[in-house]
């Protein structure tokens, strides 16, 4: 390696065939800090001749070797996972992808498929020096059937762009997430992304009509039908939906769009406790029923982090000033006004919050705080919810919504809230929910856990983590633990934000404690974010050994050399 460098420096004009070979000290020969895997010994190293071949195949502008340019593609959105790829390829067509994969398979060069690089479990970035196969060059919308709402698009199309396109035809995409401005549909399908409207429009397993996938050996598997029903043999596309790019590279997606709702109503609610949140959700399911389209929650720590870290974002409820007396005001004569700001009912000894009878307009939140004995200085939780309805008839929807709101307010489960009166107001309510992840990221490095749990126990995990951090790391008062997520789907996003950066010490306190807690409550260690690199070693917490063995067999069958996205999801360290 030392010799090679001298040779290179002295004879720059002479092309060395080992130009891309890494030296012994290169990080690619070290053990991965996250998963303890080492670079698979059967994989080849990139040679200049390989790069030349890719340039001839794809065109020089679609081959990136510049280290500076590669930096952002080598690192994930959360800046937690850092790869060391020396090469990014940007194919323009499925044929390109097929040729590239055939070549890589032949040469035993591992690749990592990458869309918008918005994944949250390190699944879209290299672990060592895997070649990054970017779909960002494949952004064509191939077709849209107005009568059925079936959209066919290349894998690199950004979700927001697709939604804008189908809006013009009176449709919406069946999924929506905070990353919609950057994430690509291929990645969405590969991760079986959930998002903010799964409650109403279902999972991608149901809304994807067809796929075009390139297999490890370059074979193009054309499953791109736009039929709603097609029971002809094994439904192969289901294998690739959620496989996180480990079984094949998705190059095109056929997806069922939904008619754009004529009436969209959004409400922002403040609840005194998580139990109240669950009650509101239950009432929403019965009273809003078929028009309910989203039910999200966030705790007070999320609200604070968002207001502190991001400009121009504020709690829509702080100005109204009619909070604690709200439920009384509904029944009271017009003209009575509450004087306290913010929902305030707290009981430091229980986590279920106060009963309806203790709403008093003279309650002083500051006195309640002093009785909290928690070493981490975190007050008993208060919660907010964003609820949205989609329907075809505004008057009908507004009538149901009014009845629902009156019910939850009179039962005391909602202390205060507001209804969006324009799309701008609706967007700003959603904005609060959608930027929590970013705000946490600005406050510190984030340990992110995406969990499925029975709704009744969901927030107990957040409290358990807070207590564990307080007892194991009492000197770390700066660590922020917060919970939010798709409460309507039983999906919690638990974030632990560490201002000083990722640290082994913190990680060891959190894991496997969190996974064990989840296993103990029969939950899932990954509701929608996937396994990626982050949880590749933790599958046993949610799946049986037998199930994992069957997954490994499928992987071996479809990718015998293990060149597509190795080290992720179901991974066995090669001997």
């Amino acid at each position: 390696m030392f010799t090679n460098r001298i040779v290179f420096n002295t004879f720059k004009a002479v092309r060395s065939n080992v130009l891309f070979c890494a030296g012994e000290s290169s990080p690619i020969f070290k053990r991965c800090g996250h998963c303890q895997a080492t670079r698979g010994p059967s994989y080849s190293q990139l040679q200049t001749s390989d790069v030349e071949w890719f340039k001839r195949c794809l065109g020089e502008s679609n081959v990136v070797t510049d280290v500076e340019r590669l930096k952002s593609f080598n690192r994930d959105w959360m800046k937690k996972y850092q790869g060391h790829s020396q090469l990014l390829l940007r194919p323009k067509t499925t044929q390109h992808v097929s040729e590239v994969l055939a070549y890589c398979n032949e040469r035993s060069l591992p690749i990592v498929p990458q869309g918008g690089n918005t994944g949250l479990v390190g699944g879209g970035v290299p672990v060592f020096d895997e070649i990054i196969l970017s779909t960002q060059g494949m952004t064509r919308i191939l077709s849209f059937e107005e009568s059925s709402g079936a959209l066919v698009a290349e894998a690199g199309c950004v979700l927001q762009a697709l939604d804008d396109h189908v809006t013009g035809h009176g449709y919406i995409m069946p999924l929506d997430l905070g990353a919609k401005g950057s994430c690509c549909i291929g990645g969405n399908v590969s991760t079986n992304a959930g998002g903010l409207r799964l409650l109403r429009y279902g999972s991608l397993h149901g809304s994807v009509l067809g796929l075009e996938v390139v297999m490890a050996d370059g074979t193009i598997l054309d499953l791109l039908k736009t039929l709603r029903k097609d029971n002809t043999g094994y439904d192969l596309k289901q294998l690739f939906i959620g496989a996180e790019g480990t079984l094949g590279v998705i190059t095109a997606v056929a997806i069922q769009c939904a008619p754009r709702p004529a009436s969209v109503q959004s409400v922002f609610l403040a609840c005194p406790s998580f139990e109240a949140v669950t009650k509101v959700l239950g009432t929403a399911k019965t009273m809003l029923a078929e028009i309910l389209s989203a039910a999200e929650f966030l705790d007070q720590h999320c609200m604070r982090v968002v207001e502190e870290q991001l400009e121009g974002v504020s709690n829509p409820l702080t100005d109204s000033g009619t909070c604690t007396a709200a439920s009384a005001a509904v029944a009271a004569a017009p003209g009575s006004e509450g004087t306290n700001k913010g929902p305030a009912c707290t009981d430091s000894n229980t986590t279920t919050g106060c009963s309806t009878s203790s709403f008093a307009s003279t309650f002083d939140p500051d006195n309640a705080a002093s009785s909290s004995s928690s070493a981490s200085l975190q007050l008993p939780p208060r919660f907010y919810m964003v609820i949205e309805t989609h329907g075809s008839h505004e008057a009908h929807d507004v009538e149901k919504l009014d009845a629902f709101l009156e019910a939850v307010m009179s039962e005391g489960h909602v202390l205060d809230g507001c209804v969006a009166t324009s799309k701008a107001q609706s967007d700003s309510m959603w904005h609060i929910r959608e930027v929590i992840a970013e705000a946490c990221g600005r406050a510190g490095s984030v340990y992110k856990y995406d969990v499925s749990l029975p709704v009744q126990v969901m927030y107990q995990l957040v409290e358990a983590v807070q207590q564990r951090l307080a007892s194991q790391l009492p000197h770390r008062q700066d660590i922020l633990t917060l919970g939010y997520g798709h409460v309507g789907d039983g999906n919690l996003h638990l974030n632990v934000s560490v201002p000083s950066g990722y640290s082994q010490e913190v990680q060891e306190v959190l894991e496997p404690f969190i996974y064990e807690w989840i296993q103990g409550h029969s939950g899932s260690i990954s509701a929608e974010h996937g396994i990626g690199l982050m949880k590749a070693g933790a599958l046993t917490y949610s799946k049986s050994l037998k199930a994992i063995q069957v997954m490994s067999s499928i992987k071996s069958m479809l990718d015998p050399k293990g060149i597509i996205n190795p080290y992720k999801v179901v991974y066995k360290q090669q001997a």
Binding site: G168, T322, K423, A424
Partner: protein
């Protein structure tokens, strides 16, 4: 002092629109209607003036067919004390609106009329100005700041900062007056749930143009509506020399 706030129900400003095939107007891609954003700002200002005790009663008024009432529910939820609906199935152009508002302002002995500077559907920017002329009141349009001067109790004045092309202009005028709100005057609050629920149960007073003694005669006819010309896609240039050459010869900005 009583304040009159006129609010208009328009296509929600965030909804994409396109020109109708027959070029007679625009159509919304989503059937979402809301209060005109500038009217919302005017109403928010009225509520703030009431919170500062300058105003005793806020009259929210809207004009049009039956369906426009929900904008008054919003106004009541935000803090209006009374809601008036001038019912008319006919097309209401700015002059007719100004005449109707003038009649109401006189009848209710209003001390200040607060309007949005323009509606986002027709962008006329005329009603406030015409209203002031009909009432012979001073006017301050494009207001970005409103202060009430009560130093002489019998002669209340409004001190208004306006956004004009050259910068900011401050006017002082005796009340009653007409003020139209611009974007930076304030940020409207959300309507809280308890207020929204109360607002649904409130009465809306209905008036007819005849009872106000106003005849509605359209003065303007829309000839044609066209979409703005499409922007050409950007092109890449290979070096600075080419950029300069194209800025000079094609874009003609150098």
């Amino acid at each position: 002092m009583k304040i009159l706030v006129a609010v208009k129900r328009v296509i929600d400003y965030a909804v994409p629109v396109r020109v109708k095939a027959d070029k007679s107007g625009v159509e919304a891609l989503l059937p979402k209607m809301s209060m005109n954003p500038f009217c919302e700002i005017a109403l928010e200002e009225a509520v703030r003036l009431k919170e500062k005790k300058f105003v005793s009663e806020i009259l929210a008024i809207t004009l049009g067919p039956a369906g426009v009432q929900d904008v008054l529910r919003h106004a009541l939820g935000l803090g209006a004390d009374r809601a008036l609906h001038v019912v008319s199935e006919q097309e209401l152009q700015p002059l007719a609106v100004a005449r109707l508002l003038a009649a109401v302002a006189k009848r209710e002995s209003v001390g200040l009329a607060l309007l949005g500077k323009q509606a986002i559907d027709d962008d006329s920017n005329q009603t406030g100005q015409m209203l002031a002329a009909l009432l012979d009141w001073p006017q301050a349009t494009f207001a970005s700041k409103v202060e009430i001067d009560t130093s002489v109790p019998s002669k209340m004045r409004a001190v208004v900062t306006r956004e004009v092309d050259g910068g900011l202009q401050t006017l002082s005028m005796e009340l009653p007056a007409v003020i139209t709100a611009d974007l930076r005057l304030n940020t409207p609050r959300f309507v809280s749930l308890p207020n929204a629920i109360k607002a649904k149960k409130r009465q809306i007073e209905q008036l007819s143009p005849d009872s106000l003694g106003v005849e509605i005669v359209p003065q303007l006819r829309t000839v044609e509506v066209n979409a703005p010309p499409l922007r050409n896609a950007g092109t890449r240039v290979s070096n600075v020399a080419e950029l300069v050459e194209r800025l000079h010869n094609e874009a003609r900005v150098l």
